[in-house]
């Protein structure tokens, strides 16, 4: 910075300090505006990252098809099979079938496909029912997701080969399964069968934090594909061949192509929608679109508060120019050019707005973590948001300071001197 510019801002700062209260009130607008911008950008960025983390956990190159029991009213009579001596008994077959998987394998040869078996039995630990799904999965199921082993081991191909009763539990169930009375290996009961817990993991697979994983072959062997639900006066048999299919593609182009094939195949094979198709990348795009709109709205609000702050500065600076007309005359008489006067007033406005901006940034840095605590939203302050906010406050100073500064510089020196 040249000595002249330094002098200019030093003098500007001193002039502002002469009227501390007025200066403080003037910079409040920019202070609140910048604090709002930092907070909005911080919360927006935090939300963006949360969405990205959540969805990319599902595997951005994955396509998931889950079997879903359709509402009974949607089913045709043929599907509501009431037979035998016991009226009210029905067999409901729904969800993804082996045929679907065969067709998908041949239609999408480049995609890796994993098939999981959804066990309909409930899980218990020490007599207490666990709020958890049970999924029979192949050993390589976790390679498709963002998964991490916390303790123990993954499911092994030998577990499937030997139909072992072993389970991998999510981190969230650790407290329920590790009981003080338990001296040996922890166990979990699924239906009426005991499963040894061999590992604790954290995964971003769908509902992964509430899912107990057991070997696929064990699940099929022990629990089969059917389940019975008994209600007063009726029994409902349900049969699902496949609980979940995951297709993994190499790249985005392949993913889009595969997603289209999957949609076509499933729509053709399932006139009644008894499956849920999830394409994480599509969800991500939709959420990002929503987030962008939200960010824009938030920024417009912050922008309005900055605009109000800027107008406040301009208003005060116009009054200051009027108040200091004699001073302007004196300065012109001793050699100040129009530009010198212009820069003098502009320096004061920029000093005000930049100071407001810096204080606003600091306030934003405090507000973002506080908002996190109060609301549970994620907030992230990036260097770029700080730079943008400071730049904006500087631009506000230049933009709104220009009119008063030009007015000061264009004053006729003789009139200004007479004003005193």
């Amino acid at each position: 910075m040249s000595p002249w510019v330094l002098d200019l801002f030093t003098a500007g700062g001193r002039n502002l300090l002469r009227h501390k209260l007025r200066s403080a009130l003037t910079l409040l607008g920019v202070f609140f505006g910048v604090a709002a911008v930092i907070t909005m950008l911080g919360i927006g960025e935090g939300a963006q990252r949360s969405v990205l983390q959540e969805i990319s956990g599902l595997g951005l190159n994955n396509i998931l098809i889950d079997s879903v029991q359709p509402d009974a009213s949607q089913l045709p009579d043929s599907q509501r099979n009431t037979t035998g001596r016991r009226r009210g008994m029905r067999i409901l077959e729904y969800g993804v079938t082996d045929t679907d998987v065969e067709q998908l394998r041949s239609a999408c040869p480049e995609a890796e496909i994993r098939v999981a078996h959804r066990v309909k039995a409930s899980a218990y630990a020490y007599g207490e029912r666990l709020d958890a799904d049970v999924l029979g999965v192949p050993p390589d199921y976790f390679t498709l997701f963002d998964s991490k082993l916390i303790e123990g081991r993954w499911l092994h191909p030998f577990d499937s080969l030997h139909f072992r009763s072993v389970a991998l539990i999510p981190e969230s169930l650790t407290a329920s399964i590790r009981h003080p009375r338990d001296g040996g290996h922890p166990h979990v009961k699924i239906g009426t069968y005991a499963f040894e817990v061999v590992g604790i993991q954290r995964t971003m697979a769908p509902r992964g934090n509430r899912t107990i994983y057991i070997p696929f072959e064990t699940a099929e062997q022990v629990f089969g594909t059917s389940s019975v639900k008994r209600e007063a006066g009726s029994m409902e048999f349900t049969r699902t061949q496949i609980g979940q299919v995951v297709l993994h593609c190499e790249d985005e182009q392949e993913l889009k192509r595969t997603a289209a094939v999957v949609k076509r195949t499933m729509e053709r094979n399932h006139p009644i929608v008894d499956y849920a198709l999830t394409v994480p990348v599509e969800i991500l795009e939709a959420r990002q679109r929503t987030q962008r709109i939200l960010n824009l709205v938030l920024l417009v609000i912050a922008g309005i508060s900055l605009l109000v702050g800027g107008i406040g500065i301009m208003n005060i600076m116009l009054a200051v120019v009027t108040e200091r007309i004699p001073e302007i005359g004196i300065r012109r008489a001793i050699g100040a050019t129009e530009r010198d006067i212009l820069f003098q007033f502009l320096a004061e406005t920029i000093t005000l707005s930049t100071l407001g901006g810096v204080l606003g940034c600091l306030a934003g840095m405090i507000l973002v973590p506080l908002t996190e605590i109060w609301t549970g939203w994620n907030g992230v302050i990036t260097p770029s948001s700080v730079i943008v906010s400071l730049a904006v406050s500087w631009v506000v100073g230049v933009f709104f300071g220009l009119a008063p500064a030009v007015r000061a510089s264009k004053l006729d020196p003789v009139d200004a001197l007479r004003h005193g």
Binding site: P3, I330, R331, R332, A333, I334, G335, L417
Partner: protein, 222 residues
């Protein structure tokens, strides 16, 4: 150094008000001249034109042979800052600055470095016997001291011409005499001075006197 040729100043106020009528004036390098006239006679307007704060409506103003009418605002301001020192009746010091800072101010507009500014301001204040008041504010000074500060501010740029507008008008007689003695010293040091006054007692000390009446300038006989 200065030549005014047929300088006229008119204001567009309801049909035009002529304040100065085709003035001709020559000011040499070491001239000390006084301009006397009643209020509203055009004294201050003439001083503002001489100080490049105002422009004549007609005629030519030559400074060191250069026609100032062709100069833009920046050039006029720079020339004013470098060659002309103003001294006003009401001192026109900036109350927010110290005595030394007030004197440094013209040098700031000439982009003189801080160390040199301080050095030259101290020298200028020493020449008007105010070395002991460097860090005082103008409102802590007497009228005479304020005018001395204004003189120091006018001298700090080492100007060729000093323009003084009723410099003793706000001072008591004794202090006024002291200030006029400072002007005598400046004249002896080779500065050109134009002093505006309506006080005949002040005018008696000035070697060359002009009367201005209704915008017409007449040189008084020596």
């Amino acid at each position: 150094m200065i030549r005014l040729e047929q300088v006229t100043k008119q204001y567009d106020m309801g049909g035009g008000l002529t304040v100065l009528h085709a003035l001709n004036l020559d000011i040499g390098d070491n001239d000390y001249l006084g301009i006397l006239g009643p209020s509203g006679s055009g004294k201050s307007t003439l001083l503002h034109i001489l100080g490049l704060l105002d422009r004549p409506s007609a005629g030519r103003y030559l400074l060191h042979g250069r026609d100032t009418g062709a100069l833009d605002d920046s050039e006029r301001s720079r020339l004013r800052g470098r060659m002309i020192g103003f001294i006003f009746q009401s001192f026109h010091l900036l109350s927010s600055l110290s005595v030394q800072e007030n004197v440094e101010l013209p040098l700031h507009y000439q982009r003189v470095g801080k160390a040199e500014r301080e050095q030259r301001a101290r020298e200028a204040l020493q020449s008007v016997s105010l070395s002991h008041r460097l860090h005082h504010r103008p409102n802590q000074l007497s009228g005479g001291e304020r005018q001395r500060t204004a003189i120091a501010r006018a001298l700090v740029t080492r100007p060729d011409l000093i323009l003084a507008d009723e410099p003793t008008g706000n001072l008591d007689q004794k202090t006024g005499q002291e200030i006029l003695e400072v002007f005598d010293e400046l004249h002896q040091a080779g500065k050109a001075i134009v002093l505006i006054t309506h006080d005949p007692a002040v005018a008696r000390r000035i070697p060359r006197i002009y009367h201005i009446v209704d915008g017409h300038l007449h040189e008084a006989p020596p």
